[in-house]
Amino acid sequence: MNYFELVRLGLPEIILVLTALAVLAVGLIRNRLAGVCSGIAAAGILFAAAAVLRLPPHAALAHGMLVVSPLNSLFQVICLALAFFTVILARGDRVLPNDGEFLALILLATIGLLLLISSEELLMIFIGLELTGLSLYILTGFDKPDPLSAEAGLKYFLFGSVASAFTLFGISLIYGLTGTTELGAIGPRLAAHALEPLLLAGVVMTLIGFLFKVAGAPFHLWAPDTYQAAPIPAAAFIASGSKVASFVVLGKILLIALRDVPGEAGWHALVAGWSPVLAVVAALSIVIGNLVALTQKNVRRLLAYSAVAHAGYTLVGLVAHGTDGFAATLFYTTIYALTLIGAFGVVGFVRRETGGVDLADFAGLSARAPLLAGCMAVFMLSLAGLPPLAGFFGKFYLFSAAFRAPGAAHGLLWLVALALGGSLVSLYYYLIVLKAVFLDEATTSGCALRPHLLPRLTITLLAALVLLFGVFPSSLLDRILAALAS
């Protein structure tokens, strides 16, 4: 293998590694100047994004371990953008005692995401999964004085390890059946196999790790605690970046490697494969996520259960196995990630002001910080799926792709109807949050803080993006479709 080629193609990851080390070093030396660390981290991410944009359109290295393609580059840029927003929001959060380490961990997690996206080989994917996961576990438990944070970190770690174990075992089964771990090579070799139990076991086990990462029921039990107790920038990054990368990888595995065992998930036309598995997980996620979110009083836990529900909606696109469904999944998870970072930004502001994030703490936000309240309205209504916001178009595209799924005509109607019913239920709890923001009088005597300029700009920018992608979805959609076509 030509190491010069490796450096050239892996330049974004290398830049991020150097940045992480630099941030770590600076954080140790100058403990109090948190701004310097954030600045270095943000600059490093921007350089890495520039490096991604300068990569050649198509290249491959070492049996799919590092693949450069328009799809991979696009989503590497998106993940870097999400990391960038997270770093800026971390700046606005209360000053963490070990700022350098926090930011270094975020950068390491981002490297894991980039590895996940750019590899089309199962072992490399696993490495990316583990790198991301380990960084995120530590980030979750980073708030040392808070026992809830430690509990959340431990839960995330235990769940994650077990899920990764399942995935590794599934990968080994698939390797055993096909003799290769390269996604492109697995596909044709699996076509020769009948649908034997070993194959099915391998497929399902492989999926478990990814379904855990996207918080699909019944692998979602880590999500409420993590979203509630992790430091807010960490929770924002878990909710956005790791989900986007996981869906990209999941889609690639399903549509390239496992493309010959899809099965059907039609109502009276079930055929064994990964599609019915995803359909069941999606249905469970939608039902559990929405119903339990109804009872939440803590906004962060509410966002966690809504994340489970949205994982369900996004999986519907993958159930409709096809390019259209995959494009819809990618579009929806991208705008969902933007929305969640923005929502967590507002949550962070409220937490700084009042010390808590219950519904009662949001009361009167529209009087204290009208711009942030407006942005929160944009985020909540986009999650509910109301036009002219991006969530509406995303859901329309997802469900129309599901309706059009090849196979039994309108076979996925049951899943679409369930998802729409879930949306109806979700409208209730998103409106409850907005009711607190716009209607209720402030009960707690929180001081009206002026939000820092940079986080305020970021949240407003994210709200503007959500509105933009709702009114002009072509700007994102055409890029995704072009990337998928090649």
Binding site: K435, L439, L477
Partner: protein
């Protein structure tokens, strides 16, 4: 030109958030008047082609999915935009004295108006659905923040019901889109959908629209929501938003799935008639003035659905005329109820009957008599013209329905006259008034010019159309006759 109604309204909404408080209502009024002017010009333009959907603007929007930003209008659309403009202007006038957070109030208000213009002018199914769902969130905030009785419950119930309707419409739209692979309404209305698809997709799609139109038994959101809403909110909701559902049923459901419509039309007529009689009977038992008017809205919308179910040119034209007529009358009734409530701080009929309002608020009493006459269906007012057209059309298809509706109209007369008599012409000596908290002495709060203007505009509108219904029917009927679901 007509596209500017949408743009101006949304621009006004954005502007109203940024300007100081005292300018908010003027910007809202200016925007509403501009929209009204444009729609009136388009409706009464000589030589316009009212039969076909004439394209106003068409640009590709999301080419990958075949979505175009396509606006078009025919006689029906222009009639509905006209009533939207008129109701919007009068609603702003009736809200002239709003004090609490006027910027946000007019922001959400103008979003509803702009979304309504969009629905009536859309000729692309996705664009139609965007505008249709756009009005859901503003409705919640309008009611929950500025409303009165039970506002949080009423707002949530109304919003969730509207979204439920939207969910059903979504499924129907997906069925049509994925089968015909086009979103253009003109193309869809000529596409031959397979009969099995129409049989299941039509009731889903129609029910989704009909929920917003207040079909029985999914109508209970309407009285609760209208009562909870502030005056301008109720005027918009009863005047325009309920018509969005009826328009959607006409333009989308009936036109796209004619076979499904022919299969299910009897049931539509049944539920419509039940709605007319049921709502009228319930209205007779109400003690809150706004609840009476809310249930009368449901009853009158039952006429619209009945006219649609008749499936002939007369019935459907009458239904569209009733959409216009009830838009005006409902807005007028809710506006007047708001004026009364603002001054007396009560809507209880028994309390009002001890106040001798016919002496203290003569103009409002006069206006309310006019509105009641129009609501009753007295000839000379638009309500009569619409209802008689509907009934003649329905007679050809379901004669029994006409008999039952006739009995229902007796109930309508009963509850309207009861409300009128108790509100304005009650006898002081007959009833010992309960002490009303916050009762303002009436002569100190005279009616303002804005409210008089709003009421007068609406009265003139219903009188003019009532005395010369051909003014609107000449524009509505050609468009109706061009639809393919009519059974001669």
């Amino acid at each position: 030109m007509m596209a500017w109604t949408i743009y101006l309204t949304f621009a006004g909404a954005a502007l109203v958030l940024l300007l100081p408080r005292f300018l908010a209502r003027w910007v809202a009024l200016g925007t509403a008047v501009a929209g009204f002017g444009l729609s009136a010009t388009a409706l009464f333009a000589p030589g316009a082609d009212f039969a076909r959907l004439t394209t106003i603007v068409r640009v590709p929007w999301v080419p990958a999915l075949g979505m175009n930003y396509h606006l078009a209008a025919d006689g029906i659309s222009l009639t509905m935009t006209f009533v939207t403009g008129l109701t919007a202007v009068c609603a702003v006038l009736f809200s002239w004295k709003i004090e609490e957070r006027p910027n946000e109030f007019f922001f959400w208000f103008l979003l509803v108006v702009g979304g309504s213009y969009g629905v009536f002018l859309s000729a692309d199914l996705f664009l139609f659905f965007v505008f249709y769902e756009l009005v859901i969130a503003p409705k919640y905030f309008l009611i929950a923040i500025w409303g009165s009785t039970n506002k949080e419950y009423g707002a949530m119930k109304l919003t969730l019901y509207s979204f439920l309707g939207g969910v059903l419409v979504f499924i129907g739209i997906l069925a049509a889109y994925t089968t015909a692979e086009t979103l253009d309404l003109a193309q869809l209305s000529h596409f031959a959908f397979p009969a099995p698809l129409q049989i299941w997709a039509f009731p889903v799609l129609f029910l989704g629209f009909a929920i917003l139109a207040g079909i029985w038994p999914l109508h209970t959101w309407a009285p609760t929501g209208h009562v909870a809403a502030p005056t301008a909110g109720s005027m918009l909701l009863a005047g325009i938003v309920m018509k969005l559902g009826a328009y959607g049923a006409l333009r989308v459901a009936l036109n796209l799935f004619p076979l499904g419509f022919a299969f299910w039309s009897k049931w539509i007529a049944v539920f419509a008639v039940i709605g007319i009689v049921w709502a009228a009977a319930v209205a007779l038992r109400q003690n809150d003035l706004k609840f009476v008017i809310g249930y009368s809205s449901v009853s009158h919308m039952g006429f619209v659905l009945l006219g649609l179910a008749a499936a002939n040119a007369l019935g459907v034209s009458g239904a569209v005329l009733q959409m216009f007529s009830h838009g005006v009358i409902g807005a007028l009734l809710f506006g007047l109820a708001g004026v009364i409530y603002y001054r007396t701080h009560t809507r209880n009929l028994d309390d009002l009957s001890s106040l001798r309002l016919n002496r203290r608020m003569p103009f409002i009493a006069f206006a309310f008599v006019m509105a009641s006459a129009a609501s009753l269906g007295i000839p000379g007012f638009s309500g009569f013209a619409a209802e008689i057209t509907i009934l003649i059309g329905v007679w050809k298809t379901y004669p029994i329905a006409v008999w039952i509706t006739g009995l229902g109209m007796v109930l309508v007369a009963a509850f309207t006259l009861r409300a009128l008599q108790k509100t304005f012409f009650g006898n002081e000596r007959q009833h010992i008034p309960r002490p009303i908290v916050g009762l303002q002495p009436l002569p100190n709060e005279p009616i303002i010019f804005a409210e008089k203007l709003g009421a007068s505009l609406l009265i003139v509108a219903t009188l003019v159309v009532g005395l010369d219904p051909k003014l609107l029917l000449d524009r509505i009927e050609p468009a109706v006759r061009a639809m393919r679901f009519l059974q001669p």
